[in-house]
């Protein structure tokens, strides 16, 4: 994930219902699919009481295309119907970054 150009992050925060049948399969499937999308840069995910998935993209256009991907649209709909009590999506422009490695 090297970059000089500005890039974008989508912060997806969610809480789940008790019915998570099929959820982890779909999550894996969507992660695999995201990686094939134009402008995809990376993804990071963790879940405890709240789930946070951050995906990184080259442009707002790439984010829009991914949002409108037909398989992804189906997953989003099933998410609202079945898996999620609540979610929030924030589209962000990464202004600056730094890293530490031991």
């Amino acid at each position: 994930m090297q970059n000089q150009k500005p890039y974008y992050a989508v912060i997806f925060t969610s809480t789940q219902t008790e019915d998570i049948v099929g959820y982890s399969e779909m999550a894996n499937q969507m992660e695999t699919l995201a990686k094939t999308q134009k402008g995809y840069l990376g993804i990071e995910s963790a879940r405890n009481s709240v789930g946070i998935t951050v995906s990184y993209w080259e442009s707002l256009e790439a984010i829009k295309q991914w949002k409108q991907n037909s398989e992804h649209l189906f997953a989003q709909q099933r998410g609202r119907e079945q898996w999620y009590n609540w979610y929030k999506v924030r589209i962000c422009r990464v202004e600056r970054e730094y890293e530490f490695e031991k």
Copy 2:
């Protein structure tokens, strides 16, 4: 966390060492301290193989002040010495957001 004005997110992604003695106490302490800072808007956190903490701020200036807070500086140093193998910090401008609630 209502807002009309643009605001900022700090995405802190990390992997830990095996020596996490004192980590969760410090994490709680820093979360409590962050909440008292000027310009603080909210925080969300989850950890599995990777930890993701996203904090939200009114301005870049508020983020800078929080980064330079003396207790926080001490925690950052101890983090690099003891708890973290790797971390990455991304300062982001939230461009757009939407929410779903069941």
